[in-house]
């Protein structure tokens, strides 16, 4: 709550900061200095790309993870990247390939999905290594929507990774109901047992017919709401600074969820009026929060 209070106290200041952020954003758009698209090839041979903002290695590098099937160019993600570009952090916004070489487009639900949550985290490993090779000693992971699941899963599965902080934005409930999910999981598992690895439509996240292999589906479907909360709890237990920002008008969130999250996250910031994507002017407020959180993380690490 102190963060929320601070935020409320600094409202006038935040206004000034918002104006400054806008100016910075304009400058960023106008002069995207040291901002570049980098490509690389995974050990599997799949080309991958990412947006990379170069900054001093003195600060931790930030990896911004896009939502489910999205790219870093998705509006919400891109706003975050832009917001961070003026803060002096190195920012890397990779496009999770989802099995697509050099993917630059949002993947469609109906596309053949063979990628798995684990393969996605592998790519995150790749970029983490890539940043470390660039001289960045610590990493801060910021994820939007499903990107939050990525950073949760990554930190849990790679406890030794030099991740000093996690910021999960719009970390909300699953789309599908628990029953549907359970039914689909059962079906998928049975298919696996039957070695029927063909694509089948599943309800997953916003996809009504996510065409995926059972393995693919199951890798994502295991990230139930409870697993998210459990992971948050685990990270809290491990003292990994995990900050959660949720829009007050995010339809996939409710007070119960906020309560659960708040109970397990390092901090939960709810930006009143903002939706899942922090569209309109809420992106600035989101960036303000991110900046504060980043300062907090910096402060903790120092």
């Amino acid at each position: 709550m102190p963060l929320q209070q601070t935020a409320n106290d600094m409202l006038p200041f935040s206004r000034y900061m918002s104006i400054a952020a806008v100016l910075c954003l304009l400058l960023t758009y106008a002069l995207p200095a040291r901002c570049e698209t980098v490509t690389a090839t995974l050990p599997s041979g799949v080309a991958v790309n990412a947006e990379y903002i170069v900054a001093s290695p003195e600060k931790p590098a930030i990896i911004v993870l896009h939502g489910f099937l999205q790219t870093y160019e998705f509006m919400s993600t891109w706003n975050i990247v832009n917001g961070l570009s003026s803060l002096g952090y190195a920012v890397l916004a990779p496009n999770i390939s989802l099995g697509v070489p050099d993917r630059k487009q949002s993947a469609q639900c109906q596309a053949a999905h063979t990628h798995t949550f684990a393969s996605d985290l592998s790519e995150l490993d790749f970029w983490a290594d890539w940043l470390q090779k660039k001289g960045y000693k610590s990493l801060i992971l910021i994820g939007h929507s499903w990107g939050s699941q990525y950073l949760l899963g990554y930190k849990v599965s790679r406890p030794k990774a030099p991740v000093i902080g996690l910021i999960a934005i719009s970390l909300v409930r699953s789309h599908e109901s628990r029953g549907v999910r359970q039914q689909q999981i059962t079906l998928a598992k049975s298919r696996i047992k039957e070695h029927a690895s063909g694509l089948q439509p599943y309800k997953l996240s916003f996809c009504e017919d996510f065409m995926a292999t059972p393995q693919s589906y199951l890798s994502y479907a295991e990230w139930s709401d409870q697993k998210v909360l459990d992971t948050l709890a685990q990270l809290k237990h491990n003292q990994t600074p995990t900050y959660v920002i949720i829009g007050g008008q995010d339809k996939r969130s409710d007070s119960a969820w906020l309560k659960e999250v708040r109970a397990r996250a390092t901090e939960l910031a709810v930006i009143e009026g903002a939706n899942h994507f922090f569209s309109d002017a809420f992106e600035f407020e989101l960036n303000d929060r991110l900046e504060k959180i980043l300062h907090l993380i910096d402060a903790k690490t120092q």
């Binding site: 490509t39 090839t41 599997s44 041979g45 799949v46 080309a47 790309n49 989802l98 099995g99 697509v100 070489p101 050099d102 993917r103 630059k104 487009q105 993947a107 469609q108 109906q110 596309a111 053949a112 063979t114 063909g198 694509l199 065409m211």
Partner: protein, 757 residues
Amino acid sequence: MWWHKLNKRYFPISFYLYIFVLLAIAPAGITTYLSINNAYRIQRQAEEENIHRANTELRTEVHRLSDDLLKITANLAGWDETRALFVDATYYNYWRDIRVKDLAQASGILDAADLYRDNGAALTSDYILTPQAHPVAIAGPAVMRQAASYYLVYFQPITVASAGKNRLLGYVGARMNLDAVTESINSAENSHINKIEWMLPSNEPVALEEAIRTARLDVAAIPEIKEFSDIIRTGFTEFLLYTLTLIIFWTVLLSLSVARPLGRLAKYLQDVYSGHADTIPVNFHGVIKIRELEDVREAINDYKHRFQSATKTLEEKNKELMHLTYHDPLTGRYNRRAFTARLEHALETAVIENKQHALCYIDMDQFKIVNDTCGHVAGDELLKQVAMLLESEIRDSDMLARLGGDEFGVLLEGCNLDKAEEVAEAMRQKVKTHRFIWHDKPFDIGISIGLVPITADNANIGEIWRNADAACYVAKDSGRNRLHIYQEHDTELVQRYGEMQWVSRLKQALDENRFVLYAQLIKPLHPGDNSQHYEVLLRLREGNGDLILPMAFIPAAERYNEMPYIDRWVIENTLRHFHNIKSHHGGKINLSINLSGQSIGNQEVLELIKNSIDTYNIDPRQLCFEITETAAMSNLADAMHFIHSLRSLGCRFSLDDFGSGLSSFGYLSNLEVDYIKIYGEFIRNVSTDALSRTIVGAINQIGHVMGVKTIAEFVENEALVKPLTDLGIDYIQGIAIHKPAPLSELFAGLSRVANSK
């Protein structure tokens, strides 16, 4: 210029008809050709435009689909999931059959798609399009036939960025059933294409432009253009056919109705010219009747009739003329011309072949009497009868000709003089024994014949004529109705020749004005008659100054028709002198002027007298003209007219030598004369011969009864005066009374007398 040569030539009317046909057909044909050609051109242009539009439509439609296909393949190529298949093609079929099909359904045009590696090989063996893409050969869209369908295919390159560069990952091949094009075209309201037939090999993509270019299009015709073209073609074709029909009809009609009839007319005219023409039939015309041609036909027929008539008449006239040329129209016998020609031929045979011929020159006696007393008709009839009489006495081989007037000639060819004499005598006897009766009035007729032998000794025709004429003259002069045979050194003929020589002497004298007028007093016997009357006499002065009396040359002058000229000279000179003496003498004298018989009937002499009377202002009553009884009787009708004409002016007439010839008092009653000059032979013997005295007395009494005064001439001695006075003669004349003196001297004396008074 060439057309000058053309102008000099004449062509048949059919030539101009052909020219007309060409000139008439040419514009119609050219117009039709141009119009139809233009119609075809317009239609062709429209069709070409239609084809162009069809091609454009096809190209547009195909390109539109191609663009769509390109967009779709570009979309597919851009799909991350597409590129993902190059990493893991496990779910290739899902991509192709589900993902692409969804897209195909969304686009509505995509038929199928396949992925190919960068080397063109199909990404999987489960391909639909083709095992091998053709990205290298076909950079753009292509058309490919598969089975019975045609597809628009395109192999869209799929690239990925790698190390800052784009790397070819592979191709997404997509095809589109071109039936969509057909459907689109068919569904279009104003499509220019009925059907598209792609000319493509199987399973082998062909570049789009090449495929379009080789596509066979069943282009939809533009009905309006086709209808327009059909109307133009049909219209002008009908126009041409109508024009051709009309031209041919009129040409045939003109040819049949004008050219051919004209040709017939021309041929008829040639036949007319050659004389073989028949009348042009009324059906000579062609199909139609042309008034002008009918007029020409009628004119030609009329002309032909006239021509034939004229030709016939001309031939007849020619024959007649030819007949007249050599025949005498009155008697039907040969004329002088034919006779002369025959005579020349006879002379030639005489000279060359030494043949003997004879010429009879025949002169009728008493012909003038018959002619004058009974008229020309009687004279003509007499001539005919004489001709027949003569002809009856000669052979067929002999030739009888009327030489002129009452003269005939008979040429006895191959006839010696003795035989000729027999024939001539027979002719003379034949005529002599013939009695010519005219209106119950009988006449004794006779002929005088001069017979001349024609031998090699004759010099020429002229000599023969002269000899014959002279012989005839001798025969006539010997008492008429005689035959005189020409002989060399004939004395009678010498005289005859002497007369002939007078002709030239008289002509020369007239030209040289060597005639001299004399005058002799005609003295009145009755007391109280103081009139002075002179007879004008004529003398010829020879070159040596000798004067020749008229009896020496008058016969020759009369015989050779020189008397009218001499009479004219006398009249003119007498009246001129008379005019002069009148102006000086002032007295009243009368002059008697002798006129020959030839002048009495001469109208010119009559006019000369009248004109001279006016010219010299002579009182006609002072002029008296003496004509001989013989002259008057020979030309009684002319003499009566002559006398009457001058007497009406006041002139007087005296009948000379009355009683010397055949004169009768019957004749005298017909002649309006004022004086009778009694024949001198009676006067000369009046004192010694009772008969003469009786005759003179009778004539004087009859004359007086008729109101005619009498003159006794030849009073050569004084002894004659008393008996003549006793007989009651009115005037006497003779050398016993007054010796003839030159008129000039007489007039000079009279002038002196007048002046002395």
